[in-house]
Subunit: 211 residues, 2 copies
């Protein structure tokens, strides 16, 4: 098993924290996104989606997308469950992980990739080139504000994102909050529940080991 | 258990086919998206994400988002597995369901919601209003073309989307292909593998029962 990784980027960080929480040792190979190594023929032949992270199994099977990698690892290494334990918990983790990804992670990516000079004509992850859109960057900024407020409200009622247990939904939300700093946005001071939760989960050893 | 449903819309259709494939009987309550019933205080109190479908369990727990509902049902009703059986299959289903949703379903929604008069100021699903973006509609059109080509290539190598077994990834891809007709786009004739697969999965009783 080998994990194709690029630790500085937020999506690889989600899986790196997930793996550290579970205590699994996986050999890594760096795919340098700064050098666009995800677009080489060699990598593309393993992962046509041309994104990182990607997990290559010993039989050659390649699994991309955070959802795919996390689900494989959860099923193959059930210790320290991070995707819930009961059907209800499992459903709630998927629900909240999806909301954090869609309304937080993607919103920040919309701002970053549609404004940064480093992403000209590369406004989306993946093999295809798309031009930057100032309209989408503006929408992303508005969405991030709503993301913080909505998740603060959830944490007013629960200790963790998907309920009263730590899960992948916390990892995605934490990485999203930290990713926002890339576009110079911080959790608003009014989001007291989100701030307290952020301090708590940031202190976990698996998170500190993957800054 | 109650499923809040709106059969004409594509995301509810994904769950309706999923439920029919598993042979589960679930009482439905219609939330008329045409009348914006998803934004009423009553519905919002159960589902702050203000989207449909949503599953309410007998203990009052509410699970929204297709990923959340499908995972709950798969775990609670394991018969006729649709999210894979081995760790590898489970990982591949999540991977391909995510790619179909992100690169297909969302691309079509970007076109529809950013061009239709029915979605003025409602360019995104959910509780928050966002203005329409002509730039995003244009990007969506380009993305749909890539979606068809990329999935055709996958089906050149496999009988079904996630491998050689029928799964939720097929349901999402099928609903996406049919959703494209809403914006007057059809599977290109050059995508022969995708066309043959579409004909095969469209003939399934669970699909025919949820047109």
């Amino acid at each position: 098993m080998k994990l194709y990784d690029y630790p500085p980027a937020p999506n690889p960080r989600r899986i790196n924290i997930f793996v550290a929480e579970k205590g699994i040792e996986i050999p890594r190979e760096t795919v340098d996104l700064g050098k666009q190594e995800q677009l080489t023929d060699t990598y593309r032949s393993k992962n046509p989606a041309c994104d990182v992270p990607m997990l290559e199994l010993d039989d050659g099977t390649c699994i991309s997308q955070i959802r795919g990698i996390a689900r494989y690892l959860e099923e193959a290494y059930p210790q320290t469950p991070l995707l819930g334990q009961t059907p209800t918990e499992k459903g709630r983790v998927e629900m909240w992980d999806h909301l954090a990804f869609m309304n937080g992670m993607l919103a920040i990516a919309e701002v970053l990739r549609n404004t940064s000079k480093g992403f000209i004509n590369r406004a989306m992850v993946g093999p295809h080139d798309y031009p930057q859109s100032p309209e989408l960057a503006e929408r992303g900024k508005a969405r991030i504000a709503h993301f913080f407020e909505d998740f603060d409200q959830q944490l007013a009622k629960h200790d963790y994102i998907a309920g009263d247990f730590y899960s992948m939904a916390d990892i995605t939300t934490l990485v999203t909050c930290d990713f926002a700093r890339w576009i110079k946005v911080n959790i608003p001071e009014s989001c007291t529940h989100l701030l307290a939760w952020h301090e708590k989960v940031s202190a976990r050893p698996a998170v500190k080991a993957n800054p």
